[in-house]
Amino acid sequence: MTIAGWLLIAVFVGVLLALAKPVGLWLFALYEGRRTPLHAVLGPVERGFYRLSGIDPQEDQSWRRYAVHMLIFNAAALLLTYVLLRAQAVLPLNPRGLGAVGPDLAFNTAISFTANTNWQSYAGESTMSNLSQMLALTLHNFLSAATGIALAFALFRGFARRPSPNGGATGIGNFWADITRVTLYLLLPLSIVLGLFYIASGVPQTLAGSVDVTTLEGARQTLALGPVASQEAIKMLGTNGGGFFNANSAHPFENPNALTNLIQMLSIFAIGTGLTYTFGKAVGNTRQGWAILAAMMTLFLVGTTVTYWQEAAGNPVLHNLGVPGGNMEGKEVRFGVAASALFSVVTTAASCGAVNAMHDSFTALGGMIPLFNMQLGEVVIGGVGAGIYGFLLFAILAVFVAGLMVGRTPEYVGKKIESREVKLAVLAIAVLPLVILGMTALAAVLPVGLAGPLNKGPHGFSEILYAFTSAVANNGSAFAGLTANTPFYNGMLGVAMWVGRFFIIVPMLAVAGSLAAKKHTPETAGSFPTTGPLWTGLLIGIVLIVGGLTFLPSLALGPIADHLAMIRGQLF
């Protein structure tokens, strides 16, 4: 570990924390439907859009209606993507003349991008036409991100709203207005700015297919090009992570230098961090938001430390062979150990899944942190929107387990947590272990599953476990090493991504609806304190115990066994 490495981490955290409030305030304006400076320009676009599609943005939807509209929207987008991918051979903007995407891969990819996962069983440059990249995939980068943020807004409203005194039903907002505002006033403008920055940094933005060049050695090489910069911006901002190229952010055309690398990491966390502040604003006490952010950042910093320490320590087996230094296998020299380790923790903590190094090549424990981040349910900052709503479900459990200890029915930000909320929160949280462990166990015994991993022993097991974890947690990063473009893995992972996204969202929205209908209990000295270090510690404890203990057996047989074997000089 180096001072420069720690400095990078410090700068990253510092800038991030400084961004939390401004980003959070901007999001709060969108949450409230307030005017922003951008309304002068984009307001007519928003209103025109509503008129065109016959949407009344003032309509307050019940949680059921919100959920149904959200599902219909996502299902339609899913179908559109599937059709586009299957038909790309006959559609325009296909300069490399690529054929149709196969049915199982198209199924997997369509779900993957709809569910904000961006798991890629394919290499983008040799599979997707420019039209597929721009329309089918980049479109989802916006819409799935906007959906996530909208859902977080819906849950915030559940906590913040008071039931109307005349007994009328209390809604949780309007799905269409939420995604329109988030896309129009947040994702689009930021993507344009960031896209221009990437272009300035040398990231290609062209409709051309590829160029043939002669290298210094005189060899001929074909360089794939395309509209990369525009996709790069939203890929990070919306915690999507699906790269234009197979190498993702390790590719010099996606992530050319240390500065773009830092900006990419910051873009991954920016909205998720800001949303914690928005939550505090929404419930009328910003300290509530900071408490959550503190818990998230603590988990993040511990993870970063472990991964950086393990990667910097390197591989003792190689040290014995006379190769000193940190673990550089699978890392880009222009980033080095620290920036790669930090990136890996950021991208997995935040459900982004973009990679600038190959996680499969990390040391066992260094690679376990990204895996563990996802197994916690992507709640360490997490995906845009998904991180905070996932974390709030844990907060509900934490309040319930420990809240009774102050001698009152547990309350969180003024809303009583009762059997309905507990039931739904448990239901949502149980989806993760059920699908991850169930499918991993299945793949670990079926011959079609066993055909996937590249490596033997615990490392091979980690590859399977990582794939399903990444899919269910909607991360999308790959441990690599696993041959996933097979009907078995495409199908299973597709289902895993869908379940991992929407089977959590629906109970979460039900929680929002149930909370919105509850009276607000004013805070007193007798209320369970949900600000301050004690609560932060409790949140961390619950996330680790519920999220962590479930996966300990699988981690023991994967990365932990892998690590212990490495210490004894055995590699897989």
């Binding site: 005194p165 459990l397 319930f400 387990v401 420990a402 809240g403 009774l404 200890m405 102050v406 001698g407 009152r408 029915t409 947590i417 009762e418 059997s419 909320e421 507990v422 039931k423 448990v426 949280i429 149980a430 272990p433 462990l437 169930g438 991993t440 166990a441 670990a444 015994v445 066993l450 022993g457 615990p458 097991f461 399977i464 607000h520 209990t521 004013p522 007193t524 000295a525 007798g526 209320s527 369970f528 304190p529 301050g532 004690l534 409790l538 404890g541 115990i545 519920v546 203990l549 479930t550 996966f551 300990l552 057996p553 699988s554 023991a556 047989l557 932990i560 066994a561 212990l564 074997a565």
Partner: protein
């Protein structure tokens, strides 16, 4: 069943029947109400079957021990519940005995017929004479009697029950010790107070409370999550080229699922109700007890709760140049026939300050009795008419005196006395105002500190009084309540409760009169005084047998303690899992990857002993925590923040550390005895 006799938890007469009941409760139909313990029983059954038919390379002795400990885990749980119920059952038995001997003299036409109490229906009228037990709950419609209610309250001093007013309700099983009354029956058989009490202390009608249901759901959820975690282990192990015997998986599952809190959950609930009963408060539902813990606002009647019931005369304040001794003498004469505590205190004050020694009225004196209309009492003696009463009433009765300088002075003094928290009584002789008597409310000792504690807990206290706002604010300040409602009518009370509830706050109050009934019903926690009317007792969701309004504060404490006990044991149970994992995971997987032996941080002897120790710890912790579950965690009134810090340290951190120590010690014993 007086409050004083607090039975020891573990006497033989309680434990022996509880052991029998523990086995009876293994009935699957009863067990399924507790899903976690049901799961444990299913796993134990499975292992019992596998003991005979299964072959997995484990020694029979080891598997036999596992099975025994699994069954013990279940039995410890049913035992805890049986023990909690047992304490109530003894009380129920004595109540039943009372009920069995009840017969009634039913009024039929002009005569009376003797019928068993069970034949009585609503609106029957019964005659109860000296020495009779009252056969049914009802309302006195004629007569006055002194009644011994020891059977219900444990208090042997008789109380007066009379027709009309707020003391008209009588309870089945209590005995009339003088006079006779006619009672209109107000309940059908089986619906009475005694029946409810029997059902309550037995726990027969116990329904899960809202928090208990939510907690059960959480425990079921955790069980499902851990079931998934354990059920997928064989698949993972097969990838690693090995297998894990079913017995080991079963052991892992049972140690991970929250058996500790699940086993103790219903015992905690029963014991919570039982604590209340021992405290002579009957809650009609567990829900009410939980609500007591959630209370944000306490409405407390001034008289009897905040001040000692009686006002004391402390000063004579003459007006219009009247000699203070003359005022004292007139006041004394007007009060000699006044048997109220206020009246007696005036006599005492006059004796002490001015040396009067009259204790009886002069010959020929004619007493003017107090009526609710005039609000004046007094005496006609020696040709003088002496009046004593509320200032407004005296002024009204003497219109001629209203505009005098003395009247102006009297009004000023009235305000002064009011501001000082006192109540003035005016004295007039032959229509001439002499002055006022300063009656002072005496705030109970220590009440201020109690309210301070409540405030620290986030509970607001509101004093309810019929006094005028001036007097009320003075007493409120002296007693340290947060707010007061002066000149309160029952409607005001109801409106205040509604207003607080609309603001999302839970309100507790106590009351006894029929006109309190709507407010009692509206309040989240309504404690009716046992001496109160039947209507009040029906409206409240708790009845205080001692009729002590101060107990509302304790009731809140008991509610909180119940919730805290549940939370503490849940936290403890969940925190225990960490250590259990560290015991079982290395033991389970060390054959697959020998390197995983380093996770055996406790240094447990062998894989078998590690698993056995974890399961033994998991079982033994239940009986070890039974006393805590039944007594409740230590409860001190304090703010939620420090309370949470304290409980998290004790039960969270303690729950994390204790099993590491416990499992290690058990492992040493298991290895020492060569059990595995």
């Amino acid at each position: 069943m007086s409050r004083a006799q607090s039975k020891s938890l573990f006497t033989a007469d309680l434990i022996v029947p509880a052991i029998g009941d523990a086995f009876r409760k293994l009935n699957p139909r009863e067990l399924i109400r507790n899903p976690v313990m049901f799961t444990t029983a299913v796993v134990a059954t499975l292992l019992t079957v596998l003991l005979v038919v299964g072959q997995d390379g484990l020694s029979l002795g080891f598997k036999l021990q596992l099975v025994v400990w699994l069954w013990l885990t279940v039995l410890f749980g049913t035992f805890a519940e049986a023990l909690a119920e047992g304490r109530g059952k003894a009380q129920a038995a004595s109540l039943r005995a009372t009920k069995a001997e009840l017969t009634a003299k039913r009024v039929k036409g002009a005569g009376v017929e003797e019928v068993p109490a069970s034949a009585l229906r609503k609106d029957d009228v019964v005659l109860v004479q000296t020495g009779d037990l009252i056969p049914s709950d009802g309302e006195v419609i004629a007569g006055v009697a002194s009644v011994n209610e020891a059977a219900i309250t444990g208090e042997s001093a008789p109380v007066i029950r009379e027709a009309g007013g707020d003391r008209s309700a009588v309870t089945a099983g209590t005995r009339v010790i003088s006079d006779e009354i006619r009672v209109r029956v107000t309940v059908d058989p089986g619906q009475g107070f005694l029946d409810r009490m029997i059902a309550l202390v037995e726990g027969a009608e116990r329904q899960k409370t809202p928090n208990e249901i939510a907690l059960t759901l959480l425990l079921v959820g955790l069980t499902i999550i851990f079931l998934i975690a354990v059920a997928t282990v064989p698949g993972f192990a097969s990838y690693a080229g090995g297998s894990v015997p079913v017995s080991i998986l079963a052991a892992l599952l049972i140690t991970l699922i929250p058996t500790t809190i699940a086993a103790l959950l219903s015992a905690i609930g029963i014991a919570g109700m039982d604590r209340l009963v021992r405290f002579n408060v009957l809650a009609k539902s567990g829900r009410a007890v939980e609500a007591a813990g959630d209370v944000d606002v306490l409405l407390l009647d001034k008289t009897g709760t905040i001040t000692i019931g009686d006002r004391q005369a402390t000063e004579f304040r003459p007006v219009g140049g009247t000699d203070v001794a003359a005022l004292a003498e007139a006041a004394l004469l007007a009060s000699l026939a006044d048997e109220t505590p206020e009246g007696r205190s005036i006599v005492v004050l006059a004796h002490q300050r001015f040396g009067f020694d009259a204790t009886t009225l002069p010959e020929g004196a004619e007493v003017i009795p107090f009526t609710a209309q005039t609000r004046i009492s007094g005496v006609n003696t020696g040709g003088r008419v002496i009046q004593k009463g509320a200032v407004q009433a005296v002024l009204k009765a003497n219109p001629g005196a209203g505009s005098t300088a003395a009247a102006t002075e009297l009004r000023r003094i009235t305000d002064e006395i009011g501001r000082a928290g006192g109540t003035p009584l005016a004295v007039a002789v032959d229509g001439q105002l002499l002055g006022a008597i300063f009656l002072k409310d005496v705030v109970k000792a220590g009440i201020r500190e109690r309210f301070g504690e409540l405030r620290a807990m986030g509970i607001r206290t509101v004093m309810i009084t019929g006094d005028n706002p001036l007097t009320a604010s003075s007493i409120a300040a002296e007693a340290g309540v947060d707010d007061f409602l002066a000149e309160a009518t029952p409607e005001d009370k109801l409106a205040l409760i509604r207003k607080e509830q609309e603001g999302g706050r839970l309100v507790a109050m106590c009351g006894d009169g029929t006109n309190d009934a709507p407010a009692l019903a509206q309040a989240d926690v309504g404690v009716a005084m046992n001496t109160g009317t039947q209507a009040a007792r029906e409206a409240g969701n708790m009845v205080d047998l001692d009729s002590d309004p101060t107990k509302l504060i304790e009731v809140v404490g008991l509610g909180k303690q119940l919730l805290m006990t549940r939370g503490a044991l849940t936290t403890f149970s969940v925190a225990n899992d960490v250590a259990k994992y560290f015991a079982i995971i290395p033991a389970m997987f060390v054959v697959l990857y020998p390197g995983l032996g380093v996770l055996n941080v406790m240094g447990l002897g062998t894989p078998e002993s590690a698993i056995l120790s974890a399961i033994i710890f998991n079982a033994l912790i239940i009986p070890l925590l039974v006393p805590l579950a039944l007594k409740g965690v230590t409860y001190k009134p304090m703010a939620a923040g420090p309370l949470l810090a304290r409980n998290l340290a004790v039960y969270g951190l303690g729950g994390l550390i204790a099993p590491f120590v416990g499992i290690k010690l058990i492992d040493l014993a298991v290895n020492g005895m060569g059990l595995a």
